[in-house]
Symmetry: C2
Subunit: 327 residues, 2 copies
DNA sequence: GTGAAAGCGCTAACAC
DNA sequence: GTGTTAGCGCTTTCAC
């Protein structure tokens, strides 16, 4: 159905290798021949079969992308950044959604690894050993996860939490609750630690409220414990949790921000739309995606394939209505 | 780096062809040999190179998926459905996001078409001729778009609008505004027509308010015209628009649902979380994704590749706070 | 039931 | 500068 390199060769009256050269290394071929080949290719709508090319060059021009859950708006943003940067490099993206299932993660990585040049793993839930194992087989870049000897793009949680604490301290809060996300989430640990350290430095008290699913319902469920903790402000694992938490607060007649302050992390679109709008540590999600692709490309061009420098991106506190009033 | 069929053959003490058979047509090989091959494959972590296999079988085991904008929560849901169904069939998914750019759409389809068995195009913005052209080259299934002779999965907009109108009429509304989405969107036309027809049948008046971007900001921008129209209720192109519209209404001190009723379409997660929660025509997004994959699989198995039967999925009105009160 | 040989579409080495 | 040859990893005749 689709035309091959030989069709073009026949039409242009040259050999297949000349077609190949004319298309991928135009300098190496006579100008006249080149034009003949190019117009023939044009006329046939020819485009090389990348699978066949990959077989011989060892480069497929494809990358794999694994995310835990597309329904969490954080990930589509990262995916968009990755897409955009990959397309600019003429690279196609395999996407897999694991549904937050670590076992599925392992299977999907193995399945995809064979047909891609490298993989980007977003917030992987897999264990350290598994990730190290992946990186031995394939070029891997991590997003929102740090593992020794594997390239990664992360966010500066320490500084983000410092900003959040500074803001809450300035509003007069003395006791802050932390609502944690999935126990297997690397960033959960980072954020909790960042918050604890920043609070200690500022002389504030932190109450940790268990682990909750990283969704609206998780926040909704956490709210009552947060209130019972005696805190006057809360920082949550992510925006979705914060929004769910605010809904429960509202249902109980607790006013945000008059009675309570809420700070999220991520800055998903929904946070602007919430009422009151959510104060949050904004993370450069699309940029993280773009940077991840760049790291991966560097890794692919690097003959020994050692991990390039990892990148840490800054977060920025966006103050909105959910922390507008002093307690 | 990765082991090939010959490595397995050597370890099992058989030929490559036997390995191939033992793995893909286990019946055709002696039980003892089969076990030897399978354990050898296991030990080496062998998985066939799908590109190489595709070269000879003509089937890559991959499908392409093109969506206009992952930032619109409607699409991640569909993508999740597609992913899940594809994975069950051991099929990998190439994902491309066009950023609502029809030109990018064409380019991406062409680029992907070569390395996939078929493509799913979600809410494509491309013209009729272009889509027909695609379908001539590749197996194509459309989601949320209907084109003659191309298989598709759509939602029953006519019935959905009938439900919405029935609800609003029962609340006592006599004059309903319609806020349209992108002019190039097929479903925009369908929904507008569905609403108009249902309103006519029920003896209600419809005021159409132009075309707006299918986002929060579009709804925010449309609100003032909606109010000026003299309508007491509004149906919007999608939930995002409805939520933006409600925000502007709120900013102007117009109470939903006391002064105004709002109905969206899609039922994205955010609609449950909005305050007041949004009444909306819920669309089975994940199911649409699953069905699209099934249609595509049927198309691939069909030797003459003619368009299979298209499927239309029902929508269901979910009544929430945004239409709770009679005007 | 199994192996040897051919070939999918392409590119890279080697001749010329 | 261009054609010929070989081969990427796999499946599929065709012999045996």
């Amino acid at each position: 159905m689709s035309s091959t390199i030989r069709d073009v060769a026949r039409l242009a009256g040259v050999s297949a290798s000349t077609v190949s050269r004319a298309l991928s290394m135009p300098e190496m071929v006579n100008a006249a021949t080149r034009e003949r080949v190019q117009s023939a290719a044009e006329r046939l709508g020819y485009a090389p079969n990348r699978a066949a090319r990959g077989l011989i060059t060892g480069r497929t021009g494809n990358i794999g992308l694994v995310v835990p859950d597309l329904a969490n708006p954080f990930f589509p943003s990262v995916v968009k950044g990755i897409q955009a940067r990959a397309r600019a490099a003429d690279i196609a993206v395999f996407l897999a959604d694991t549904d937050e299932d670590p076992a599925a993660e392992v299977g999907l990585v193995r399945a995809l690894a064979k047909q891609v040049d490298g993989m980007i793993l977003c917030s992987p839930r897999a264990g350290l050993d598994e990730l190290t194992g992946f990186a031995a087989d394939t070029r891997v870049v991590l997003v929102n996860r740090e593992v020794p000897d594997i390239g990664s793009v992360t966010f500066d949680n320490t500084d983000g939490m410092r900003q959040a604490v500074g803001h809450l301290a300035a509003l007069g809060h003395r006791r802050i609750a932390w609502v944690g996300g999935p126990a297997k989430s690397w960033s959960d640990g980072e954020r909790a630690r960042g918050l604890t350290d920043a609070a200690a430095a500022a002389g504030l008290e932190v109450v940790k409220i268990g682990h909750f699913p990283p969704h609206y319902d998780g926040g909704y469920a956490a709210a009552d414990q947060v209130v019972a903790s005696g805190a006057t402000a809360v920082v949550t694992y992510n925006d979705l949790v914060a929004i769910g938490l605010m809904a429960r607060l509202d249902a109980r007649g607790i006013s945000v921000p008059n009675d309570f302050s809420v700070v999220g992390i991520d800055d998903i679109a929904m946070s602007r739309m919430a009422r009151p709008a959510l104060t949050t540590v904004s993370l450069p999600k699309q940029q993280a995606g773009r940077v991840a692709v760049e790291l991966l490309l560097a890794l692919l061009d690097d003959p020994d394939g050692s991990a390039g420098p990892s990148r840490q991106l800054p977060g920025e506190l966006i103050v909105r209505g959910s922390t507008g009033v002093t307690p």
